[in-house]
């Protein structure tokens, strides 16, 4: 039983990481209605950036965020302007291909620079842990979780307490109406994409600390992230967070109770089950075009 509880606790902690990564992805979809299939690669890129900073300057991964987050934000804006904004027709479909191309490009560059060997993000205090209710939790996991909470909290504040956030939400709800009330949706889209990529940088740090990774890791990652946001409802931040927690806790408990092999499955099984009953996901809205 305590094994199950431990698995559940682990699930919550890793769920937080995935919630952070998924939040950027669902935000991007909500604002621009594009599926950023390259989000996994961006997370991995963030992880490698922090890795490079650690390797060259011994900067702690969490501290490196001060550099990587703004850098990735800028990268996100540039990517949006260069590759997404020019898409005029067939946006949803083409954006999938474009973001996949970006993912491949990132994978190629990372593979060239860092080789395909697996690496991990390290911190000097990574073996330190504390005991709670009879089992041990390492500090890194806790810091990671706290970071996720902090960034998600900041994201909520941004969305619900600032004018810019209001502009983002307006664009998500109704792009044309937002334009009509004077919101520069193009600028909002570019900046929102930047925000999404910045959260990927943060996610990358926590992901990199808790997992060994290499340039090819983005496939597995994006398949999970996409599953999470579909479960949560495309465009719903709340949905992404809850879905991430549900998925990860179930996965970790399954790994303990049944086997790690089938734990991988659980992800998709839950997705299929939910889709049969509620195609729009937990918090998604049944989309009907204007009637």
């Amino acid at each position: 039983m305590s094994l199950v509880l431990q698995a559940a606790a682990l699930g919550i902690l890793t769920g937080g990481v995935y919630a952070l990564m998924a939040s950027g992805l669902t935000l991007i979809f909500g604002v621009m209605r594009i599926i950023n299939v390259g989000h996994g690669a961006l997370v991995v890129l963030g992880a490698y950036l922090s890795f490079a900073l650690f390797r060259s300057f011994h900067i702690d991964p969490f501290v490196s965020l001060v550099v990587t987050m703004p850098a990735m934000f800028a990268l996100g804006v540039v990517l949006q302007l260069a590759f997404i904004r020019p898409l005029k027709t067939d946006r949803e479909a083409l954006s999938v291909l474009v973001t996949y191309a970006i993912a491949l490009g990132i994978e190629g560059v990372l593979g060239y620079v860092f080789t395909t060997n697996y690496v991990e993000l390290r911190a000097w205090y990574e073996t330190a842990s504390f005991a709670i209710f009879g089992f041990h939790i390492t500090y890194v996991y806790v810091f990671g979780f706290l970071l996720c909470l902090a960034i998600l909290g900041a994201l909520f504040l941004l969305l619900y307490r600032t004018t810019f956030g209001g502009a983002i939400r307006a664009t998500m709800l109704n792009r044309t109406a937002a334009q009509l009330i004077g919101i520069d949706v193009d600028r909002v889209s570019a900046l929102a994409f930047g925000v999404g990529v910045a959260t990927a940088a943060a996610g990358g740090v926590v992901f990199g600390i808790t997992n060994a990774f290499n340039p090819g890791s983005h496939y597995d990652l994006i398949s999970r992230l996409l599953t999470i946001i579909v479960l949560g409802g495309l465009g719903s931040l709340r949905g992404a967070i809850i879905a991430a927690l549900i998925m990860l806790v179930t996965e970790d408990i399954t790994a303990v109770l049944i086997s790690p092999v089938w734990a991988n499955f659980v992800f998709f099984v839950i997705l299929v089950a939910v889709l049969i009953v509620r195609p729009q996901g937990l918090y998604g809205v049944r989309v009907r075009d204007r009637i």
Binding site: L104, G108, S223, T227, F268, L271, D289
Partner: protein, 347 residues
């Protein structure tokens, strides 16, 4: 009077030219293994024709209905494994006989497609894309973990005809792939000219409006999906027979899945010749890149760069963009939007 006559003559001449071109192409395709029998060339030919078939089959769903499936690699893999398992368990002696099992693999793939499609099509276009990706990973996971059935990560060995010499081996496979490509093109052409096909195009333009005029959208989408999947499954079966060893990650391969999509986009979504042109061009490029830069990861970067350039410059694909240019060159005064129905149906 004279205008209509010269117009008729021009169309007649255009159609005759097209027919002649097709005949030349068909003859060339049929005699290719005879004029270039070296295994290197025939191997390239096998893969090129394979992708022509895959892109055309994918286009039936993605191009006509607008529902982009990024998980078609799942059906490719199901077809391959179904075929392999049938050959092994039915003890068919390798040679020409196993080719008869290809349609059976297609039917099995279709059965899976009905189930997968029924679930995936409960969602609208954006979610559909993601769900198809999810199903592809499910199939990959199943292939890896149902070890007793599929051999798991260690792979499944498909019996192959040992008596076909090294020089000859590729040829039957080339013709098999060619046959499937022709079948896919025929299906695509026929669908496009039918009321069913028109309904699919209507769904792509405005699904709710299609419903309002009586189009049974769910049934139509599912049918297109299953046809598309069955064709891809059959091609996968021949592929499985060709490579003789099935590994989950190489048979249920996302790159194969994305390639057929990219080729169709490059050539022109929803057109008949688009997927063919896209497949021929891209397969050439892919093989070239893999040959030169395969070792370092740079070929991925190049591939993605080509990808991006193509999508940004020719967002509608080659065939529609060229058709536009030709039309504008022919009649610079006429508006772009007035295209006689005869000319449009042909593309």
């Amino acid at each position: 009077m004279t205008d209509a006559w010269t117009l008729g003559l021009r169309i007649g001449r255009g159609a005759a030219l097209k027919a002649l071109g097709l005949v030349v192409l068909a003859v060339f395709a049929l005699i290719l293994p005879v004029i270039a029998p070296d295994p290197a060339t025939t191997n390239i030919a096998v893969f090129t024709v394979m992708y022509v078939g895959l892109a055309t089959a994918w286009n039936i769903m993605g191009g006509y209905t607008g529902y982009i499936s990024l998980g078609h690699a799942a059906f490719f893999g199901i077809g391959a494994y179904a075929f392999g398992l049938l050959v092994i368990h039915l003890n068919i002696t390798p040679g020409y006989a196993p080719f008869l099992l290809v349609p059976v693999a297609g039917v099995l793939t279709a059965v899976f497609a009905v189930g997968i499609g029924w679930i995936a099509l409960r969602t609208r276009a954006a979610t559909f894309v993601i769900v198809t990706i999810a199903f592809m990973f499910i199939v990959q996971l199943l292939a890896e973990n149902l070890v007793k059935l599929t051999g798991g990560g260690a792979g499944l060995s498909v019996p192959y005809p040992h008596d076909w010499g090294g020089d000859f081996f590729n040829t039957p496979f080339y013709y098999a792939m060619l046959a499937l490509a022709v079948i896919a093109l025929a299906a695509s052409w026929w669908i496009r000219r039918s009321k069913f096909g028109l309904g699919l195009l209507a769904i792509r333009d405005d699904e709710d409006k299609a419903l309002a005029v009586g189009v049974p959208t769910r049934a139509f989408k599912l049918t297109a999906f299953v046809i598309s999947a069955a064709l891809v499954g059959m091609i996968g079966a021949v592929y499985g027979y060709y490579v003789t060893y099935l590994y989950p990650q190489f048979v249920v391969d996302p790159l194969i899945g994305i390639s057929m999509v990219l080729m169709t986009f490059l050539g022109g979504l929803g057109t008949l010749s688009g997927p063919v042109i896209g497949a021929v061009l891209l397969e050439r490029a892919q093989l070239e890149f893999a040959y030169r830069f395969g070792a370092s990861r740079l070929y991925l970067v190049l591939f993605s760069a080509v990808f991006l350039v193509v999508i940004l410059i020719l967002p509608r694909g080659i065939v529609p963009s060229v058709a536009d240019l030709v039309r504008r060159w022919r009649r610079p005064a006429a508006s772009d939007a007035t295209t006689p129905a005869e000319q449009r149906v042909a593309s």
